[in-house]
Each structure stands twice: as C-alpha cells, then as structure tokens.
Symmetry: C2
Subunit: 478 residues, 2 copies
C-alpha cells in the first residue's frame, strides 16, 4: 500500500495552525530535528511538519485535516522505540504527530485499581502517581524516564515485570482513540469484564499507530508489595534453568515477578567494562539467573521462601550455587549486573541485536542449535545471550570476534546472522520481535515469516480501518 | 446486514456429506433437535442441517462450501451459552456447525505451561489434563462439565477465577481459526510475548463466531496451589466491601483468587429452599462476602494469613463478623451457599436476570441507586444481588414481589427493569454483559448503548473479514 500523495502541504499546515496554534506546528529544521531520527539513530526521516496538539479534540481536528488533505501522519510519543516505528519516511510529505502535550493524569480510582492517563504521560510519572495512591503500576523498562504510555501501548511494551503482570496489553482496560477518519472513540472503560462485542482495544494496542491514534488509556494498578527480594543462581545450562523455573513457580506462584537469564559471557563482559560491579559467585557458571520475588507479607517472609527454594534447587541439582540478597543495596547490585549487560555490550563495540521469543520449553534447544549454526557460519562470533527467560524472551545478540572490526563485522554478517536466528526462531515456533515491535525495522522480515493467511487478515483489518493508508504508512504491514 | 439467501441447500448438503461423511450431516429432526434450542430454552431455531466435522481441515472444507453456496453457519460447542449465540434463526436456511468432534488434546507442554486443545474439548477435561501434568487450568464455571473450550473462547468466558487469572482471553496464547473464506489461520503460538502485528487472536476471542471459527487454541497453565482456603465475612453494606477488598488485596496480593458478594436476601433465599445448607453466622448481615485464597506454601500458611486479614478488617470496622473454613468440607459448604443462589432463585420462580459490570469503585453506588429506581418503578420487586465483586461483575437479578405471579411479573416488567438497570449501568460507565456475551439476546440493546463510532468500527471489522455475512449472522452486531 502506497500512501496517497499530499495535495497541498501548505494549506494543510495553515489549517493545522488555525486548529492548534501556529506555535505548535513546527517546521523549522532546528525544532523538528529531535522528532525525525529514532533513538538508536538507525533511521533519519523528514517531515512537512511536527504537529503538537494538546488534547484529544485537537488530535481529531488534525486527523480530519490530514484526511482531507491526504497527509500521512506518524504518531510519536517519547521517541524511544527500537524499531523505527515513530520515524517518518524520507519523502518529506508525512507529518509527525507528537502526543507529548497530551500529558494529563485524568483520574486515579484507588478502589477500582485504575489510573486514567493521556497518551503523552511519561511512564515514570504513571508509576509515581500510582505509588502516591498506595498502588503499584508494574510496567517498567529502561526508557521509563522518557517513554510515554501511548508509545508503550502502541508497541505493547514488555520490560521486567511481564512474568507476573503481563505486557502493556494486559495492563490496559480501556482506550480513547482517534480513528483514521478523525472520529473520537471513547472506549475508556475501567472494567475487568466486558463481553459486548469485538475487542477493539487490543486491536489498537500493538498496532504502532497504523490503525488510529491512542489519546488516553485506563491502566490497571496493583497492590504494592510489602517487599521485593532478589536472588542470583549459578547454573550449568539453560536447560537446567527450565527445571529451576518450574520449581520456582511451584514454590512462589504469582509472587515470582522476575526470572532473568544471563550467560557467562554476559557476566564476563560486565566484569571487563564495569569492574566495580562485583561478580557474586566463587566460581564461574555457564548461566546465571536473577530472580525477583514480590512479597505481600514481609521481607523476612520473602527471604525465607527464597532460601527454601534455593535449598531445594541445590538438592535437585538444578542450580550449582545461589545467593539471596540480604539488603536493598545488594538487590540493587544484582539488578545492576543485569542492567549493565547492554551497556557493556555497547562498550565492547557494535553488535547485531535480536529480540526473539520462543516457547519457554524450547529456550535450551533454541540456544544450542542457534549458537551452533552461528559458530559454523561466522566462526569466532561471540554470543551475548540474556533476557526474560520467564517470558521466553531473549535478547540474543551477536558480538564480533575478539579483536575483530565491529563495523566490518556488521556490514558483512548482519543479514546472514538475522537469517540464521530467524530461521531457527521459526523452527521453534517463536517470534522475531517479542517486545520491540516491527516498526520499519522488521516489517519485511515479518512479511517473510508470516503466513499468507495471516498477512491477508492483517491487510483486511488495515484496509477496513484506514483505507487511505494515512496512519503511519509503511510500518507493521505493507 | 442480511445474510445472502441460500441458493441450493440440497447441493450444499450433498457436498458436505462428501466432505465429512453423510453420517455427520444431521438433518433428521430427532437428531438435530438438541442443537436448535439454547440451554435456557429462550430461543428455538431451525437449520438446514447440523454439520459435525472432526478436524480443522474438515471445517475448512465446510466453510468453503458454505461460502460457495452462500449458506450461513452457526458454530456451536457445548450449547451452554446464556445469550442464544449458538442458536440458529428460524429461517431454516442456516446450518449449525458443531465443533464437538474436534475433541483432541493435541499437546501439553509443562515447561511452557501450555496445553494445546481443539475447540470441542470439554472444559472439565482441560482442567483434568492440566492436573495430570501437575498444573492448574484455572478457568472454572458452572457449565464446565459440558461447555467446550471453543465456546469459552468465543464468548470470552469468565467464572470464579477471574480476579486472579483473568477471563478466557487472558488464558489464551494462540489460536487456530478457519476464516470466513475457509482458509486455515495457524496462530497456535505458545508465546508470552509476540509483537509482530495486529492482535488477531483477541479479535476472534469474544467474537461469538461472527468473524471466523476457532478450531484449536494454546491455553496457559499455572502452577497448582498447595492449598485453597475459603472464608466468609458479614458486612454492613456493599460500600464496606470495597474497603474490605482493598485490604484483602493488600494482605494477600495475587493469592486472593475469589471475592464474591451475596446480599442478605440471597442468603435468605438459599435458606428457604435449601435448609440443609447452614447459615454460617450468628446474626444477619446486609452483605456476605466469600473469599478464596490460593496459597503456594501450605494450608496452614493460608489460614494464618486469612485470620490476620479478618482481625484487621474487624478492627477497621470493614466487616461485622468472619469465619475461616477449617476444613475442605467447610470450604465446600461455603461455596455451596454461593452456588445455590441461582438454584434457589429458580425455585422461587421466574426472574429477570442481568449480568452487569461496573468499575469496582462504583458497585456500592450502583446497587443503591438502581435498587431505589426499581423500588420506585416496580414496588415490591425483590433484588437478588450477588456475583464477582472482585471483578466488578454482578448478577443483578430481580424477583417478583412476594406472593406475586412470576409469569405476569416478567411479562409486565421485564422491559422496564432492563431499561432501569442498563441506564444505570451506562451512567456508571459499565457494561450490560460482563461475562455472558451478546449473542442474539442483547444485540439490539448493545447497539442502543454503544456509540456510533464504536458500532462503525465493529461493522468495519465484520465487513472486512466476513463481507458476505455468513458467519453467525445476527449475533453480536447487525
């Protein structure tokens, strides 16, 4: 699908200025620059303008004008996406629609455990406002200080709490959306149950702005846990981690909120580039697992539970060594190791990143088989394997051979590596994008791996809702 | 939308017989009768045949034939729906497509916590197979001995475990669906995270067979709890129940798996018609709450937790009295009271039923205001109010005045009562069908209360996927 050609950009911009104020229609290159490249600087677009409405009503006005003038719109929140989904193309005919000024928390309803927020509210602010009301908003990810809830929903963001609380999708009860025709759909329901028709909410979530523009949402809150306890375990293999996960879930049930895998090479990389982060074990282990437990009773209760779990896991031979954090500081130190892996990787040099998911039971086989395939095709390539094992989601990244030139490595091997990894994902019935979305980065690869039936269903939905293809064209589906 | 007229029913039936075997094309009135009326006997339809394929491939063959011959299909599972969604119309031109012979459990993957089942597998069998694998499949509802997982998904069934585990939607990871054109979509993914395009899965879930036919699903399993503990509490009002719920969630977090409200009149009705079920308190209370906790540690741990909760709730004045079950038998006795309310109601005579949902925080106001409205309009009407308070979902039923004629009461007041209840639901931003779906029962009322924008979006999706309107026409959306 090709977007229709813009007829009269200046007339469109004038009408936008009349609708939302000229100072909110950015066209000066200095003003627009931050909106035209993605966070990782992989994509650089241009735009006829960056439009900054302040309310859902102003968004409807702009979408109606865009419809009338046949101008394609690229919605953008905090611009922290990892797949180029919020970056316009190079034509200069698209307009970026920034939702950042829709930044009001409309309501907190503690008894309903909900918060109603506009699309441009920063994730960290949602967390903070929930905490003020004595509640937990559990969505948490690296970009939380600058990403927006609208972007989180449009990409169905994941993060570190998915094991217990689900993705952004599972945390959303209702949406307000401006349709591609500029109508406002008020689906802002704060209901746990509602069986009155098609699930439009989940259709807009994860659609990356290609079916309409999310302007507000009702998000679920949870009770605040009394304590969070963290532990590390050293294991002989990823296969052992599967047995360990099952055991941990039997012991802790829904209290288990994190189960992160880190390969020994990840630990070595962190040690090399951040020597101040102490390696927590006496000996090296093929895999390290970070566990987090959110306890409703007390820190003491959680720690005892973890200690009993570790004893059982040692006895069963699932783990080789384990340490339960004895203080908040030590918990933070454990998380620091996990969070410094991507930073250590960046220090080590450019690399090929994959955000894959497979059924949890396949994780061990997937790593073994894919590691072997890569070793055959690109001898010396170093695997930086870590991620949310409890969700079946790995950041399965590939670093240039020791001492090699990362630039050249990338240029020569990126395509080969992607093919090896994604073919393996397909064999294991997995996904080539577990939490980052497709954006423009993976739209063609997705089309390659999806069935014709699925692509046809997606296109039918897209055509039905956005027949002029003016909503973020070229993203998710072509 | 009107379904296209069938061109040649006999040619269609002959072709179906060739595709799935003549013995699986039922046309004899004696054979078809059980499929043509709904469980509550509110609807009686007719059909040119009842088709009983045994595999997804046979379903694709039938749907292709139906498409070619322009025959509308009414998918049906266990035929236990409460909204007439699986009953054909009176024209005799529709065919019922029974999924009951698609009854294989295809796979259990304990490490992935998933079970892959065909649409016709009975819910109780899914539970049993999960238990055999040491796992819990938490979907549970009154009809579990005869309803099928395909029907559960098509209606997004709720039940007694929603507070902790969610509706059928939240328990499903992937689907296999035959599209209205007779293509097989293999979306049978067992992934916790997959951000590669539109959420087709959730579009088919809850669509009541109007967008395609679910033939199989990957369902989530959970660890089996070590113990389930039940308690009852007597309260002064539904408002107090909100504070009590918040306290219980703070104490128990995700371990709280049930929070059911029963008004004093419900308790009286049960006492009147089932005197063998002992009333558990010394005194009467305006509301009684049944709580269930699923503990991962032990029965002892759960009971102590509940006892501490009840102490705190008594101290805060949220509850007037409380009793924690001391044995499995006593737990079952508590649940028996809850489960006998609909039976006691039936004994008392015909009544007007509502399956409504409102934001949990509005429950108290909703009951007060709606009770008052009904008392004004229909003096003497008796309110049978009970349900899943933790989900904001009430079975808000109305019984004829004491000694009145229920038949006449229904004939004279059903419409008035529905209007009072649903108008109140709308004021509180609730739903007129929290867990039963729309079917044919509420399709017009839903159209009345939904916005034009939402109806247009639903119609756009329906037209895009099923342009000939051959998939369960007249249900969900017209």
């Amino acid at each position: 699908m090709t977007p229709s050609t813009a007829l009269a950009p200046q007339a469109f911009l004038d009408a936008c200025a009349a609708a939302i104020g000229a100072q909110h229609v950015l066209t000066d290159a200095h003003d627009t620059a931050p909106y035209l490249a993605d966070w990782r600087k992989r994509y650089q677009g241009t735009a006829c303008a960056v439009l900054c409405p302040a309310s859902a009503e102003e968004v409807t006005a702009i979408v109606k004008l865009a419809h009338e003038h046949r101008v394609a719109l690229v919605p953008q929140g905090g611009n922290t996406g990892l797949a180029g989904g919020a970056t316009p193309d190079a034509s200069g005919r698209e307009a970026v629609l920034s939702l950042r000024r829709l930044n009001r928390v409309r309501e907190i309803d503690a008894h309903n455990n909900t918060i109603t927020v506009e699309a441009g509210v920063i994730l960290a602010e949602v967390q903070a406002r929930a905490a003020e009301a004595g509640r937990l908003f559990p969505l948490s990810l690296a970009a939380e200080g600058s990403c927006t809830i609208g972007g989180n929903l449009s990409t169905n963001a994941g993060g570190t709490g998915v094991l217990r609380y689900g993705n952004a999708r599972e945390l959303c009860l209702g949406l307000e959306v401006v349709t591609p025709q500029g109508e406002l759909w008020d689906g802002l329901r704060g209901l746990r149950k509602d069986n009155t028709g098609y699930d439009l909410r989940d259709l807009f979530i994860g659609a990356e702005g290609t079916l309409g523009i999310i302007t507000a949402a009702v998000m679920k809150l949870h009770p605040q846990p009394a304590a969070r306890i963290t532990a590390l375990a050293g294991l002989a293999s990823a296969h052992a981690a599967l047995d360990f996960l099952a055991l941990a879930q039997r012991f802790a049930g829904p209290l288990l909120t994190g189960f992160e895998l880190m390969s020994d090479f990840c630990m070595q990389l962190v040690g090399r580039h951040f020597p101040q982060l102490r390696y927590p074990f006496q000996q090296r282990h093929a895999q390290v697992v970070l566990l987090e437990l959110s306890d409703n009773e007390s820190e003491e209760h959680g720690r005892v539970l973890f200690e009993r779990l570790m004893e059982a896991a040692l006895e069963e031979g699932f783990v080789e060594d384990a340490v339960v954090a004895e203080s908040l500081a030590q918990s933070q130190a454990f998380w620091n190791i996990r969070e410094h892996i991507p930073l250590a990787q960046a220090q080590e040099g450019l690399n090929v990143k994959h955000d894959i998911g497979v059924p949890i039971s396949r994780i061990g086989d997937f790593i073994e088989e894919t590691d072997a395939g890569i070793a055959r095709a690109v001898p010396g390539a170093r695997m930086v394997t870590f991620g949310h094992l409890g969700d079946g989601n790995l950041h399965y990244n590939v670093q240039a051979p020791e001492g090699g030139d990362p630039q050249r490595f990338l240029a020569e091997n990126e395509k080969t590596l992607n093919t090896i990894v994604y073919d393996s994902v397909e064999r294991h019935r997995g996904t080539i994008s577990a939490e980052h979305g497709l954006g423009q980065l993976k739209v063609d690869e997705s089309a390659h791996y999806k069935s014709e039936v699925e692509l046809a269903l997606m296109r039918a939905v897209k055509n039905a809702l956005d027949p002029l293809n003016l909503m973020n064209p070229g993203k998710v589906i072509r």
